[in-house]
Symmetry: C2
Subunit: 410 residues, 2 copies
């Protein structure tokens, strides 16, 4: 995360360049220029991705024969690149694989961190494909005040949370960069190939690196790019370098994959496809994403039922009326109400959610009642997660993190 001075500078540069303030979205900074939060349509235009429209959603349902996940249906995964190509593959019974990741910067993951994994699990179950999960402990070492050992330890701790999401061990590899680099030569070989094709000018443009940034940071983007190419995983893909990759991630990670897609053809590789999610809002509102470093901004996966209740009641920004009379008269605003937003991420029942939206908007449902619904949903989600995580032993983590053949033949 950039410090305040850097942020102000970035905002300043944006203002000068664009004549008006723009949202700042890169892998280290998400700051909205407006109180309404990030303008995702503008972001699609700026990044050059495509909106996930009804036609695409219908096609996914048609080719899989299943309803899509509510995160897709509700526009939380809202943008994509080359998703139609992945569906073409699937229709032709040709293989592809999923790649997602996590930067292990803190022991306790929060609800926002769970979102891509919940969706990735649905993708894996629905399409029956292999999944690789990159733990960028090297990145966290390079960006944060962490030792290598501590970053690597956090990778293992976070892997437990990821495993607790229910990924099939026969179909999933989780790997730490610091470990995998010393295990599988193809990783470094692909990093070399990517690094040869990208200039400092380009990473400055894409990531905003400056002259006083460490060469460790400058060298990192190819590390996150390399798993987009199936040759990085010779154990899984039998040295094939032609398997398409689909990357579910939050939109702030897109710069890495714009770079990857730019170099792919020059490496005789396929461009990875992507599905992008919006950000999970902080309890205080949608202007920024949750931060693991501010405990009052997030619900952690380690929070007790009591902590969840207190945080939601105390901090969750309300879109309700200022007084009971006002709320009853004018109704609540679901667009900015954080509790309602959270329900769109985690309440699976569409009918129930729609009733809540209607009743809250009309003023019939009070903020306290809405928060109570959310507290119930989150207490269940978090306590179930906690139970599953408690069963993940170090030995199980080791199995997931061992480079090996998975249950697919290539």
């Amino acid at each position: 995360m950039a410090n305040t001075e850097e942020l102000e500078q970035k905002v300043g540069e944006m203002s000068v360049a664009e004549g008006e303030q723009e949202d700042i979205v890169d892998p280290w900074t998400v700051v909205s220029a407006s109180a309404k939060g990030i303008d995702y349509d503008k972001l699609i235009n700026r990044f050059g991705s495509s909106k996930i429209d009804d036609e695409l959603i219908k096609r996914i349902e048609r080719v899989t024969g299943k309803p899509v996940h509510h995160l897709l249906r509700r526009g939380i995964f809202f943008s994509h690149r080359d998703m139609h190509f992945i569906l073409d593959q699937y229709e032709q019974k040709k293989p592809f694989y999923l790649y997602t990741g996590r930067g292990p910067s803190s022991e306790a993951m929060h609800l926002g961190h769970l979102v891509p994994f919940i969706f990735t699990k649905w993708l894996q179950d629905t399409f029956d494909v292999p999944l690789v999960v990159q733990m960028t402990d090297d990145e966290k070492f390079l960006w944060k005040d962490l030792t290598l050992d501590e970053a690597n330890r956090l990778a293992h701790e976070n892997a437990k949370d990821i495993i607790a999401c229910g990924f099939d061990i026969k179909k999933t590899l989780i790997f730490s960069d610091l470990e995998y680099m010393g295990q599988v030569p193809e990783f470094y070989r692909n990093i070399c190939q990517i690094s040869k094709l990208v200039t400092f000018n380009q990473v400055r443009g894409i990531f905003g690196f400056g002259d006083s940034d460490s060469i460790g940071k400058i060298a990192f983007p190819p590390v996150q790019a390399a798993p987009s190419f199936s040759s990085t995983f010779p154990h899984i893909f039998n040295n094939r370098k032609d398997l398409p990759c689909l990357i579910p991630c939050a939109i702030d990670q897109d710069p890495y994959f714009r770079m990857t897609r730019d170099v792919a053809p020059r490496m005789d590789c396929l461009k990875p496809a992507l599905v992008h999610s919006t950000f999970f809002p902080a309890l205080q509102g949608a202007q920024s994403k949750m931060s693991a470093s501010d405990p009052t901004s997030s619900i952690f996966l380690t929070d007790t039922n009591e902590e969840i209740k207190t945080k939601i009641n105390k901090y969750a920004f309300s879109g309700g009326g200022a007084t009971l009379e006002e709320h009853k008269g004018k109704g609540g605003n679901c667009e900015i109400d954080v509790s309602y937003q959270y329900l769109t991420f985690f309440m699976e029942d569409d009918t129930k959610l729609e009733k809540i939206r209607k009743d809250y908007t009309s003023g019939e449902l009070l903020t306290g009642d809405l928060k109570k619904e959310l507290i119930t949903v989150l207490q269940k989600l978090v306590s179930e997660h906690r139970e599953k995580r408690a069963q993940v032993t170090d030995e199980i983590v080791k199995q997931y993190m061992t480079p090996r053949k998975l249950a697919f033949d290539y």
Copy 2:
């Protein structure tokens, strides 16, 4: 190797900065500003290293109880950093290790490439210490128009020439970056640690990298730096990170190790010590070092006796008189005579070399006679090398290149 335009620009910049033209010496460029060749005393001042003086040479002879190698006695290894510290260690019977390397850019190595290895073998035999030899196949991939496989193949070919120099297999590890990175996690861990401490500004200053250089090049210096730290070789040094390192290399490699010495204390590591050699001159004269890409500038280790004879007679720049009369009258100039210079590298007999110097300087010995002496020395050297190299099988290369414990206990 930089192109002419880049060279002119570099020379131009030097001129503006210094008020007069200076030699250009960095890992990719060695160009002398004067016909006399590189001014090594100036280089010592500029790089901040120390001259190898009589006192140091006497101390080496005292602590080892042996005469020093002629490459040291004759000022070919002329500069050092912290050599006294290494001798302190040796006197106290504390361990250290040797690190040198080779960039495998061509199949055939030339005589100049042999010099650091001849000297390194003497160091290993004299001090009885482990040696690690880095083959920077990744560097050659990043800088040249080579594939990864071709760069790696050249690393194995060149390893045969290095092994033919007679290094003890029980005391020597040769490693390719592209292979070792995928075998030993400590290599990447140390690269991360170094990369975190060096900014783009710094590598621009040290290596002259620019905005349009690839991030592969920018990321490379820590790869060459990492073997300076014993923790990069856990098999050899039993995970100890406190073993001092002595690096014999040509002076153009010093920028890598200035950078390494700068970051070492911040990593709680020892600064590597160095001994620097002058460059082996091209047949055409001392203005530049030999180039593997210009066959007429070099004697290759694959050249036949006949080719050696022809090249010396045809191309070796002579410091003799223009005519027989002039030579007999004024004598020859050993300072600029390439054949004489080559003899200082490869003729072991001091008495004989001194007689040649005297007789050539007085005009008694003719250029043809001098060249004949050199041809005899080189034909013997190269044919013996060829025979030894022919005995180095792929299996032997594999043994040298396997990360393993060596014949030392730590």
